[in-house]
Symmetry: none
Subunit: 155 residues, 2 copies
DNA sequence: TGGGAGAACATGGGCGTCAATGGAATCGAG
DNA sequence: CTCGATTCCATTGACGCCCATGTTCTCCCA
């Protein structure tokens, strides 16, 4: 499997370390990136994580802008400056830095959420709330899609 | 790793020396440039720093303008004339010259901000303000891009 | 079909190494 | 000889690596 799928919740130990779920580890291995690339999300209190494929996405986005342009600087400050490359220990764990824990409101447990080419790291409670919210939005979206096909615009 | 990633804050000692963060040092090493190339940013109270890749970008940027044109002269005066090449001591430290400290308002701590092919040097407080601003601008920017693919956020 | 052996994985903690920092020693130029 | 700059050394604290433990899941066999 080359995509991050499913959701896992693990505990941090006294040193702030947490095991990356084994299925995610094997995806990372295959991806080839040494370490775990982590980038805070802009709109949620969560963190995007992954390997080369995630970095590639970020690089592609930056490539849309001219170096030294204001937009390029803003993006690189936000996307790259706030990112961290975490070392994965021989047991498959990472130590979450303070900045990340603070951003995501993480205490002693974290939830890993697979999202294909990347996964997210959440504080479990916050993730449940977000997921519930997301579900509602999707229901609504589906209603709209349904209407479109049947009536050509039941709105 | 061949890119400057993440943010670090270090202290200056009584001689005005400061350690370049170890991950940045290894990028510089790989880049091959002897020393640290520093040039004041155009529109911020900060300093761009890096090695050959940064110099290459500056060269490329200047190449966008007609040689001997007024714009070209202005840019080269600022970008090249105000640049400094700092020597890195055996422990991986540099001594920040007065001109740079003045321009960036640096006191006894500095923040290093990775931006891919280069990194920036900031006075910590000023950087926090800039980062907050940058985050807002990027959010806004992303909204405008709309349907475009993105790397930094959840969808 | 139930039980047991084994493997894989999450977790806990001890120890060595390296990076950041401070300060002393040395070198070079005026 | 003195001042400034550069190199050398020493300390401390964080972090990476190693080994140990327990739990769950799987697979095999009775």
């Amino acid at each position: 499997m080359d995509e991050f799928v499913s959701t896992f919740t693990n505990r941090l130990d006294s040193k702030g370390r947490v095991s990356i779920p084994a299925p995610f580890r094997s995806v990372l291995m295959r991806d080839g990136f040494e370490g775990l690339y982590c980038c805070p999300t802009l709109d949620q209190n969560a963190v995007d994580a992954g390997g080369n494929r995630l970095r590639e996405q970020i690089r592609a986005m930056l490539a849309l802008f001219e170096p030294f342009s204001e937009d390029h600087e803003l993006l690189s400050t936000t996307l790259i400056g706030e990112s961290e490359i975490l070392r994965v220990d021989p047991e498959g764990r990472v130590a979450l830095p303070e900045a990340i824990k603070a951003h995501a409101g993480i205490g002693d447990t974290v939830t890993f959420v697979g999202q294909g080419y990347k996964f997210q790291i959440w504080e479990p409670e916050r993730f449940l709330a977000y997921r519930a919210e997301a579900k509602n939005r999707v229901r609504e979206l589906r209603r709209r899609l349904g209407g479109r096909r049947e009536a050509g615009g039941a709105e």
